[in-house]
């Protein structure tokens, strides 16, 4: 199916772009990068130290390596679907994301 293949190429490209961007940002200003990318300390160390070969290997999977950081979908939908919205959606989302969880682990944190 050509459809699936094009998704696969997009995902792998996105994976590589993400890894390159993350490493660049981390090397320039680690603290700000951790904030923007919502990384744990361990993940920040890992991404900073990746070689180009490792990056290529990591990006060549059939799944996306990053995912939305919103813990609860309904919090974000409240920011997006505000009936009395006054041009505040970006600021509201940014505020909610600024406090987002940066801790390790997908499984340990599934509260």
């Amino acid at each position: 199916m050509p459809h699936t293949n094009s998704y696969l190429a997009d995902i792998q490209e996105l994976n590589l772009s993400y890894l390159l961007l993350a490493q660049n940002m981390l090397r320039k200003d680690r603290d700000v990068a951790i904030f923007r990318l919502k990384l744990s300390e361990n993940m920040a160390d890992l991404l900073t130290g990746l070689s180009s070969k490792q990056m290529t290997q990591l990006s060549r999977v059939n799944q996306l390596i990053c995912r939305p950081i919103f813990e609860e979908a309904d919090r974000i939908s409240k920011a997006l679907d505000n009936s009395r919205e006054l041009g505040m959606v970006e600021i509201h989302t940014s505020l909610l994301m600024a406090a987002a969880d940066r801790s390790d682990g997908m499984l340990s944190n599934g509260v």
Binding site: V32, F35, R75, G87, A98, A99
Partner: protein, 188 residues
């Protein structure tokens, strides 16, 4: 008597320049660096091309509770708290958080709602327990409020804006057009 380290002094001057460039009043720089007042005044003049403004810093906590300032203050404080957790160094976290906040603040109208001195005052007010964060029962965002205010059923100013919120701002945008249409037509 220990001679002051040149490197430390350089760093202090660098920090002072950065703060002044971002719009800090002299009192802020004086508190956050170990440089003397005389040198800071000279530095201020060199960086901004004008003598530092005189007078006291804004000292009211009420400003941070009013509608638009509260939203901006809360956004800034959320960023600052995260940066403090990540980096651990207070003034570093403050400057980085302020730059991150500016990315959002300057795209609306180019006008910064929360100036650097205000942001600094906000951090001090929270440190001194005069202001604190409260969780909105609707969006679960953390917003700035007076300490010891009732925490039950708090709803933030974005989820439930006051009835006239944002009206004055829009009026200002429309006004020039209205004035044009009122002018005598003879000019055309």
């Amino acid at each position: 008597m220990s001679e002051k380290s040149l490197v430390t002094e350089m760093q202090q001057v660098q920090l002072a320049i950065e703060l002044i460039q971002l719009g800090a009043r002299l009192q802020v720089v004086e508190t956050e660096t170990s440089l003397t007042r005389g040198r800071l005044i000279r530095l201020y003049k060199e960086v901004r091309g004008a003598p530092p403004p005189k007078g006291m810093l804004p000292f009211s906590t009420d400003w941070f509770i009013t509608w638009l300032p509260n939203i901006h203050s809360s956004l800034f404080y959320n960023i600052y708290r995260s940066m403090l957790e990540i980096g651990g160094h207070r003034i570093d976290a403050f400057i980085k958080a302020y730059r991150l906040y500016m990315e959002h603040a300057s795209d609306a109208d180019g006008e910064r709602v929360l100036g650097l001195t205000r942001a600094w005052t906000l951090v001090r007010f929270v440190e001194n327990g005069m202001l604190e964060q409260i969780r909105c029962s609707c969006c679960s965002g953390e917003f700035i409020t007076h300490s010891y205010s009732p925490t039950q059923n708090y709803v933030c100013g974005i989820c439930q804006p006051p009835s006239r919120a944002g009206k004055t701002l829009k009026k200002r945008d429309i006004e020039p057009d209205n004035l044009d249409s009122l002018r005598p037509a003879s000019q055309g």
